[in-house]
Symmetry: C3
């Protein structure tokens, strides 16, 4: 299989704000310098792709429960450390604005403009009961084979 | 050093159910499609290789303490998020059965059948006071050099 | 871009003792066997590069707050699991001494002697309000481009 040295593949299973922010900074940085970049969102990482206005209708009790517990989109993610009931993540956002560091929302927009492929893990969607119409537009859906194809094609894969 | 493009190496130091599940899905998926796969278990990751019936005899006080605190095998792992005293992990298992997604136990069995190499980190075993007869059969033991040899041989390495 | 098969790049965003310890063991092991190794410290990972005697003078309120909350150096890191208010990390250190496993402090010294490149993420420093004179000597500073250049040059990159 031919691999492209500077292709970057990111597997994101976390929805901790610090890890998500790092993932997006690396994805945008790599895409901006000409690399092909793919991001594969599984488990908690699917939070990032959720619409903020998604509904929980037509779901089983368990699916509704997961739906309520998982954050919707990049707002409302918490930190892996020093979260302090949301205060830590508010402070980090405030500092980023002060220092003109792009927010996760701005980075996701840039990623899409730069052609970063966003892939939602279909198995994780099944497990958490997330439907396609709950996720943002313009993304791909794929299973472990899709993910592994990107891994094998890439010069580097980061599991975040 | 010659590297095989589609060889996959996984270093697992976590025993969070979600990360372990993701690691096993990727390992089995890659092995099923013909890749050589190795999994290196260190620190908390050693939990996965513990026998459920292992005893703590002939151990120092500290070794017994670690022995009690570390989960034995894939049962009893907790989630990195939304664990809620075990409820979250029970729900995820329940959903997986509903959706016919293989459990971590089934994936570990498949991994072994497909020839995934399972390597226990000997330094971590020393540190946590785990003996070889507490771990499942058919695994290898190795230090950091074994791990790095696999990393250098592989097209991709995931630190999970 | 030419890649060196056995070059290792580590991106460390965590300051959990277990993950940091694993990162340093892999870095020193790889460097000792002749690999070029770089470690890029971002977000909480910057804790590792902090001087223990650094002061918080001339800082804004928020910068002082982050300064107080982030650990200084390798002492005082806590575990991702079983930390139990510091007891778990004390036990692990104690066991490491018993088993003659090098401590994180010894590993960091070895890493420097073996020529492992230590790079502090300048964007994270901005965000957390860390100044250069708060970090240890002999390190490099770089942004996402520096980090990605190392990723593309390396045979393997670990996100820890």
């Amino acid at each position: 299989m031919s691999a492209t040295r500077n292709q970057l593949s990111i597997i994101l299973t976390s929805n901790c704000l610090d890890r998500v922010w790092a993932a997006l900074i690396l994805a945008v940085g790599a895409a901006a310098s000409g690399s092909a970049v793919s991001m594969y969102f599984a488990f908690w990482g699917l939070s990032i792709l959720r619409r903020t206005d998604s509904r929980n209708t037509g779901k089983s009790f368990l699916e509704q429960l997961f739906g309520r517990l998982l954050p919707r989109g990049l707002k409302g993610l918490s930190l892996s450390r020093l979260n302090c009931a949301g205060l830590g993540s508010k402070l980090l956002h405030y500092r980023a604005r002060q220092k003109r560091i792009p927010s996760p929302e701005e980075l996701l927009t840039s990623a899409r403009q730069l052609g970063v492929r966003l892939v939602a893990c279909s198995m994780s969607m099944d497990m958490l009961g997330l439907k396609r119409d709950e996720l943002i537009d313009g993304i791909e859906y794929g299973g472990v084979a899709t993910c592994l194809a990107d891994v094998h094609r890439s010069g580097a894969t980061l599991f975040i």
